[in-house]
Amino acid sequence: MIETANELGHVAMQEGEVFIEADTAAALSVGIAALAAGYAERGIGAAAVGAMAEDEDLFVNGLILTVLPETIVILALVVVFIV
């Protein structure tokens, strides 16, 4: 299986055809990661606001938990510098 994949890769490289540019791929990875972070934050944010409405002391905790998924985007951003 892996061997065939390898061979396929060789063939593709020999032909010089690129499926997707590296820069485009990096941009996509950041974009999709940001979407995922947004999706995750939607639920956490709603819950955090709910908790804050009951007890205002929870503001800091709520804020931290809400932006935690943002780390996915930072990790995805690393890809941009690697390629």
């Binding site: 939607r42 639920g43 956490i44 709603a46 606001v49 709910g50």
Partner: protein, 348 residues
């Protein structure tokens, strides 16, 4: 509602969980059982019940103050939960909370039947259901039972009440009307439930509640030996009984107890059933059904964290708290000792 669904359950669940954390603990109940009614009122004033105690403090006193403050707070909390929730979540929560509407309708009908004043009826209402203030005001202003039936036209109680009203006119007893209200409530309870695992859990809980209600009624009928058709009181939708088995079993207490002991609820209700056979007391059985429901409710709250189940779990716990405090206050008024009152409480 967006493409990925709304994040409303998260919001409601977070608020409800915070509220749940503020409910009285076992430790606080122990303190309450050692207080006098006025001390209980003061203790409540320092917790979530502050606004209600202050608002009602000038008009009522003693145990009445506690009772009305409890009802008002229960209504306020549940109304808020309904305010927060939307869409499917609202639909699922309101199903259960409509039982307060049903209770209010019955209170109003009974009040008119016994010629109680508007004030007296109003203080006994628990405005926790779906009815808005306008509808309730119209119900309170109604002069006759016929007017009540007319006002409720268009709600789920309209048609069954209209049908039962004829029977009421012939016999002049309230039973057909009250049965019609109950039946309308239980019919909407299990009708058209949406799909999904959390909803299944909720359904199991609702069915257990109906089963327990049927079992309670059947046991009471069997014990009293009254010549009432058990099928009249049968509530449809449970797993344990169908109309015929209930009608048959309600005539024979031993057979009924055996039937419940062999059912799926044997684990939860077994000890209470034994007590029922020995001491001939229904109280233990009713407590056992309450505890079983509450334990199941607690379990519900943790299995599916973001769904309707934690909300229902909170609603049950809150209802239980209100009933416990009421039991403590009434027990104190009647001069029961702390240990006797503690036996009356349902705490998990």
């Amino acid at each position: 509602m967006s493409l990925v669904g709304s994040s409303n359950p998260e919001y409601v669940v977070a608020r409800v969980r915070a509220r749940r954390g503020m409910l009285y603990s076992t430790e606080e109940y122990r303190k309450l059982t050692r207080m006098s009614p006025s001390e209980i009122a003061r203790f409540m004033e320092e917790s979530t019940y502050e606004a209600e105690i202050n608002a009602l403090g000038s008009r009522h006193g003693g145990v009445d103050l506690i009772e009305y403050a409890l009802n008002a707070n229960l209504a306020k909390q549940f109304e808020e939960v309904l305010d927060w929730s939307e869409g499917e979540l609202y639909d699922l929560i309101v199903r259960y909370l409509r039982k307060f509407d049903a209770g209010n309708v019955k209170t109003v009908i009974r009040g008119i039947y016994t010629d109680a004043g508007r004030e007296a009826i109003e203080t006994d209402l628990i405005r926790a259901g779906e009815f808005d203030d306008r509808l309730i005001r119209r119900l309170l202003e109604a002069e006759s039972i016929e007017a009540v039936v007319e006002i409720l036209e268009g709600t789920i109680y309209g048609e069954p009440l209209a049908a039962a009203y004829e029977e009421y006119e012939e016999t002049d007893v309230l039973v057909p009307l009250e049965n019609a209200v109950d039946r309308a409530f239980y019919e909407q309870l299990l009708g058209n439930l949406p799909r999904g695992e959390p909803v299944r859990q909720y359904e199991t809980f609702l069915k257990a509640e109906i089963d327990f209600r049927n079992a309670d009624n059947a046991l009471r009928l069997a014990r009293s030996g009254a010549e009432i058709d058990p099928a009249e009181y049968f509530i449809d939708g449970g797993e344990l009984f169908d109309r015929d088995t209930l009608a048959r079993l309600a005539r024979d207490l031993d057979e009924l107890v055996e039937y419940i002991a062999d059912s799926d609820y044997a684990d939860e209700l077994g000890p209470a059933l034994r007590e029922l056979e020995e001491a001939d007391s229904l109280i233990a059985f009713e407590h056992a059904t309450d505890t079983a429901l509450l334990t199941y409710g607690d379990k519900l709250g943790t299995m599916h964290p973001v769904s309707v189940t934690p909300v229902i779990s909170y609603i049950l716990a809150k209802e239980r708290e209100v009933e416990n405090i009421r039991a403590i206050a009434r027990g104190k008024e009647a001069g029961l000792s702390a240990t006797e009152i503690e036996e009356e409480l349902v705490i998990t």
